[in-house]
């Protein structure tokens, strides 16, 4: 199996980071790249949505939301009772793993594209939808539905976070303008997409490498959890895709979404909602273990799992 060049960029970043080469991109550039990725994913989804009837999507959406609530509820007891994490840490890590990572999703779409496997147009919608429920679960697990929580401030942070607004905005613009309307802006959002993803992954590799120090600190349980729980989630996601009657491509994406762990939106929300949770613990897991695992081994594996479900 030959590696996709975007994955090679990640490996390059990882290697350079482990050798302590100083190559970090300026934060402004990292943000620029992620804004383009988010908008591009949204726009692509929107264009496809504009081609077909929105129709009977509601049951699927409900099912996916349910999965978004279920995954962190599954992760929590594992972390709490097997991992012996403090309650607040277990809840926070569960929220990270219940939510999703846009970078992982993007790599999965290029993986499918390279194999000429198509997928449902509305997958970016699931990407948006899956960001939120796990955050709520994480908070409620610790605080109950207490009044002390700054729900106003928090829902602002959660629902108006950069990634959700850009994904939804892209979806809307893509849907409103349609394929022909979007064509003139393809030169920024579609043609360089994979190159931008490559550069983004180079940086992610460097960041992941910088987690190694804390990885050592948190030890084997986190390592095991960060690899095994995503595989478990992917099975659930893959099974759900099968039940919902998604295509193989769509199912692989849903499995990848389930398996991916957030490292931007959720950390920010947890700092506000559960300040007593140890932020390094969750980041070490999602960035230092699960992200690399998913990018390099996970996605092809979830493809295999899906093929198994579909009996291909």
């Amino acid at each position: 199996m030959s590696l996709d060049p975007v994955v090679l960029f990640f490996v390059l970043g990882l290697a350079a980071g482990l050798m302590r080469a100083e190559m970090r991109l300026p934060p402004a550039i990292y943000e620029f790249l992620s804004v383009i990725l988010l908008l591009a994913i949204g726009l692509k989804g929107g264009i496809e949505l504009s081609k077909q009837s929105f129709g009977d999507l509601l049951p699927d959406i409900a099912a996916v939301i349910t999965m978004g609530f279920a995954l962190p509820l599954l992760a929590f007891p594992i972390l709490r009772y097997i991992g012996r994490f403090k309650k607040v840490d277990a809840a926070s890590v569960a929220a990270h793993y219940g939510s999703v990572s846009v970078g992982t999703y993007a790599v999965a779409t290029t993986y499918l594209a390279a194999q000429h496997i198509s997928f449902e147009a509305y997958m970016p919608l699931f990407l948006v939808i899956l960001e939120v429920p796990a955050i709520l679960v994480g908070i409620v697990l610790v605080r109950g539905i207490s009044k002390e929580t700054h729900w106003r401030r928090l829902s602002h942070e959660v629902f108006l976070g950069k990634s959700i607004v850009l994904l939804l905005g892209g979806l809307f613009i893509g849907w409103a303008a349609g394929e022909d309307g979007i064509a003139p802006i393809a030169g920024l959002f579609f043609d360089p997409f994979k190159g931008i993803l490559a550069l983004f992954l180079l940086e992610m590799g460097l960041i992941a490498a910088s987690q190694v120090g804390s990885l050592r600190r948190y030890g084997l349980f986190l390592l095991g959890f960060g690899v095994l729980f995503p595989i478990l989630s992917a099975c659930i996601g893959s099974g759900l895709g099968y039940i919902l009657g998604l295509s193989v491509g769509g199912t692989v994406l849903l499995a990848t979404l389930a398996a991916s762990a957030s490292y931007i939106a959720v950390p920010a929300a947890m700092r506000i909602a559960l300040p007593k949770a140890n932020p390094t613990l969750s980041l070490t897991g999602s960035l230092g273990i699960t992200f690399p695992f998913n990018i390099i081994f996970g996605i092809p594996l979830y493809h295999k799992i899906t093929q198994y479900f579909y009996g291909v």
């Binding site: 991109l25 934060p27 990292y30 940086e203 960041i207 910088s210 931007i264 700092r271 506000i272 932020p279």
Partner: protein
Amino acid sequence: MGSKLMNTHPLQLITIITESVLEHTLIEDLDRLGARGYTITNARGKGHQGLRDAAWSSDSNIRVEVLCDPHLADVIAEYLTKTYYVDYAMMLYLSDVKVLRPEKFIGKDEAAESEE
């Protein structure tokens, strides 16, 4: 030693170094407690909570300066320390500084008072 200007007025400068994720909450706090202004720069650093130098804001620092009268400085310092020190990466220090036109920072009445 020090400035010999007649019309300098002693004030307190609070410098807060903390997580970027707190920026908005902090600004609201400062407003509420009565600060007349603030200045923010982006920063990175290391402390008890480890290295803070990330590409995204939840893992990088800000450096906030607030110039105000000593009483308010105490109020702000106490409040922030109580509210955030335990759970957040935060460092806060106070320093004595002098300004030429205190009205700008503490209101006219207090300025006149502090002149006495």
